[in-house]
Subunit: 325 residues, 4 copies
Amino acid sequence: MKFEFNQDREFDMIAIGRACIDLNAADYNCPMEETMTFTKYVGGSPANIVIGACKLGLKTGFIGKISDDQHGRFIEKYMSDAGIDTSNIVVDKEGHKSGLTFTEIKSPEDCSILMYREEVADLYLKPSEINEDYIRRAKILLVSGTALAKSPSREAVLKAVALAKKNEVKVVFELDYRPYSWASAEETAVYYSLVAEQADAVIGTRDEYDVMENRFNGKNEETIEYLFKHSPELIVIKHGVEGSFAYTKSGETFRGQAYKTKVLKTFGAGDSYASAFLYALVKGKGIDTALKFGSASAAIVVSKHSSSEAMPNVEEIEELISVNA
Amino acid sequence: MKFEFNQDREFDMIAIGRACIDLNAADYNCPMEETMTFTKYVGGSPANIVIGACKLGLKTGFIGKISDDQHGRFIEKYMSDAGIDTSNIVVDKEGHKSGLTFTEIKSPEDCSILMYREEVADLYLKPSEINEDYIRRAKILLVSGTALAKSPSREAVLKAVALAKKNEVKVVFELDYRPYSWASAEETAVYYSLVAEQADAVIGTRDEYDVMENRFNGKNEETIEYLFKHSPELIVIKHGVEGSFAYTKSGETFRGQAYKTKVLKTFGAGDSYASAFLYALVKGKGIDTALKFGSASAAIVVSKHSSSEAMPNVEEIEELISVNA
Amino acid sequence: MKFEFNQDREFDMIAIGRACIDLNAADYNCPMEETMTFTKYVGGSPANIVIGACKLGLKTGFIGKISDDQHGRFIEKYMSDAGIDTSNIVVDKEGHKSGLTFTEIKSPEDCSILMYREEVADLYLKPSEINEDYIRRAKILLVSGTALAKSPSREAVLKAVALAKKNEVKVVFELDYRPYSWASAEETAVYYSLVAEQADAVIGTRDEYDVMENRFNGKNEETIEYLFKHSPELIVIKHGVEGSFAYTKSGETFRGQAYKTKVLKTFGAGDSYASAFLYALVKGKGIDTALKFGSASAAIVVSKHSSSEAMPNVEEIEELISVNA
Amino acid sequence: MKFEFNQDREFDMIAIGRACIDLNAADYNCPMEETMTFTKYVGGSPANIVIGACKLGLKTGFIGKISDDQHGRFIEKYMSDAGIDTSNIVVDKEGHKSGLTFTEIKSPEDCSILMYREEVADLYLKPSEINEDYIRRAKILLVSGTALAKSPSREAVLKAVALAKKNEVKVVFELDYRPYSWASAEETAVYYSLVAEQADAVIGTRDEYDVMENRFNGKNEETIEYLFKHSPELIVIKHGVEGSFAYTKSGETFRGQAYKTKVLKTFGAGDSYASAFLYALVKGKGIDTALKFGSASAAIVVSKHSSSEAMPNVEEIEELISVNA
């Protein structure tokens, strides 16, 4: 099966959600307490995904809200320089700051992050700042789950999803679950279900689907039985080193392998996966190939220092796939 | 056309939303400043609707949250004594109070209300307090729009709607728009659209549909064109003294006349309308008859002092209809 | 010892704090759940105190914030009609409501109240709404402890106290402790101590002084040892039916007896006590006489239905004192 | 005049307030948007002051609240390693983060900061976390004005000031005004006045005294006339490059000159001033000498990259003074 898109749309993908600042510890294998120097990158799952997709050659745009300060201006310029359309990035005028993520890499297996997410600008995107004319120019609206965590960003995303469906834009829901920001697990489950039921494709880890279903140790079969009663036609469930599964409404199942690389850290794997997986779909490749693209891209990013800067190009991905064929 | 229900369900209607306290000025034709005595009633749109429906003979239940104080206990006892199942009314344990509505009747044309809705218990109903087993016992889940105004009540209602649909319970959405409590008109429109699109029937005034569509002077034709692309099969739009319209997905239109009575005040008209309209539908009467029931019930309530206590019985409604036939 | 006032001041007393609505159950000896009718009065400790003082013949004014609705207008008119200067009562323009107190009298020994204090107008009085020219026209600034419970009312009161001291207005601090509204017992203790240390006279129950000292079972001797290191010259500590004690910085102790009356309810006793006690001081009577006035006034109010309306006149107080002499 | 201290106290100075993280742009003369690397330091006015005082040889302690994460642990370790007693630094257990300050040095005249102060741990210090036994061990309690900006830190500071006065610890109030965090200028004025009136010494810029008095273009003479009616015995008012003035209650006035140095940035000048000024007072030097110490220390810090790390030792200060003598 192939996942079909509306070919008369100008943008391959428009993402909605947060674009933030990563401050990566300059040192590896070191507790952050002892790190005295940090390097700045653009971060945030949907920002990373469009940056990755743009590097692969897709035409992309971004809908989000950034701070009216040096960090916000850096984000806008970085994305614009990368080739992303930033015309629908709104500058916050109420003093909200850009979210921050300090990363700590004690060892490849022991990575952690320290996030600043209080009153961040991205969660203040308003429904009135969502532009129907812009959304209808896209093949894909990529929705990041974290953007549902708080009002008014939550309502902005719900409105964007409604407009995408009205205008036959494929809604891809990247679950991107982050426990902070949410009031309760029940609240997350309500909105994750609501958007997943309306999406055309859903991508997430097994743990993230459990969050959506508000349960533990859920089974893929039950998840797809539930979601295929609603809009989704394609469901991707990632199981870490065991690889990932793609299910179609028509009944097919595909399994993708994880590629082995020298892992430096775990950050950015999911975002690079999504960007390359969706690139492959947009380019008309089969789902089995798309799974390989996703896995290869993730493997490359975890071997490098940053998430956004490290996004691979098509040649790097194809080379890794061919080496492992 | 008839609106069909799942006949094997124990409850004709379960309503979800607020049950509050009305404090009605003892005096008519008097500014509230000069009123020294107030009489207490149960109030709140969905509470009034089930009280009215119960009086007409339907088997009803209620899902909501009440204060752990004298007002909350009064509400529970009144509803229970009226014959409503109160097993799914939750008592708030976090100190939230019951909502209050002081009414003022300066003249039949000049009525106003003074509401206490800060941190009220009904808006603290949580999704974890929604019981799937209970919802599946109903023919109708009646959803009151005001219950969507704030979290966590908002998520509780969204969950209840999802469970109703999963269990083939008809969702009737009474728009019941109250401007306080909502953060913005855009926010209201997002949730009203979301629930209306999932409902089986929607009832509201023309103004309330405009709120749902976030516009002014909307046309019924555009409203039904929009909603009939989604779940609704029946849409009732009320135009005050000009009567009300019912539209079906299959293309029928019905018009109901407003009945003239000696108007004492305007409160309670919408709630009594909904209770009698839904009673008629449940009893298998045609939509044209249901419109008459709604209008007659409203006419009776506006001629009396309270909203809940004044709900008519079937004989009163039928008599008014026959007098005006 | 006599407590001396600046005799060239126009107002005997200006009070600062809340003026609210009492809704008294029409029925006695009845749980509120069964009470269907409520009677409206002006309430709130400092409002009651000025109403009582005004009835006794003092020239009084009030500083506070009321709601821009029927309840606020009722409060303003009632106080104005009672003879209180209301020129410094500010009308809230941000939608805050008047506080409400429903009273329940199950028996003379079993009275309770149900309060609505969320986002009430009185706690939104701002420091910029405090008028130095007004305060300097008073002999006494009566400060109610509850007005310290939240910002910005807290800062308005702190500013008023500073201005009173600067202008040689006697600050009388009525502790008036209400557990709701305060964030913690520690917070209450900080502000109660701060204002008590700056006051010229402090009035409260033994329990309220314990709140100020953040302790249990405090001793009067320790309380006065602490406070007399600071500004206070007069400290009144009430012990309910055991009567009250007045201590002066110069070392005198006075004991007042409680008067026996047919008790109907306990509400309003403290407010009527303060109004009559301060009336006596202003009129140049000795502290021993002032204690009698306070006790007599309290005894009269607890035998009647309301707090504000029931405030006695001088003749009633003197008669009760002479009968018990 | 000399400012006398209780000589039997173990700590020369205990400071209360915030200890945070500075992230200084690695590049000079560069907009922050273009800076990719940041260096981490401990920051926050009272933390800088004790670090500076400690480096000069005073025995110091700190009262504050830090985050339970890598940043909080870095702060605690840095201060402890510097020789500061950290036994009364509390670790926040409610998820609050350390405050952050990104610095930008476009030119020596054009420096700016970007602060993260939402829900920061330091503003969650509670009154119950203030330890009387600790405070009474100090000669000086140094209070930072910013710690008054929000509850419960505000109440913790008010309690600490009360305990200091009770135990004859000199209260030095460093106004340290930062516009964010405060609800209004009026609110700041209320608390700044309240603490300044109770302090033994007050230090601030002319602009900060204007904030305390809620006015513009205030005069030093009016400021000292007001404050000397209350507790203060020593008032220092800084006028930037025009130098600073010290006033004593006994009527003396001292003027200190600003020292010229190669200015790199303006951050940290006030903190280094306070640490050296207070060091001199504690060491029994005259006020005129203390003013020189303050100015010299400030001049040294503004010529270096950080605020805390750059604090000079006594020899550096004395050398600068002697060179300019």
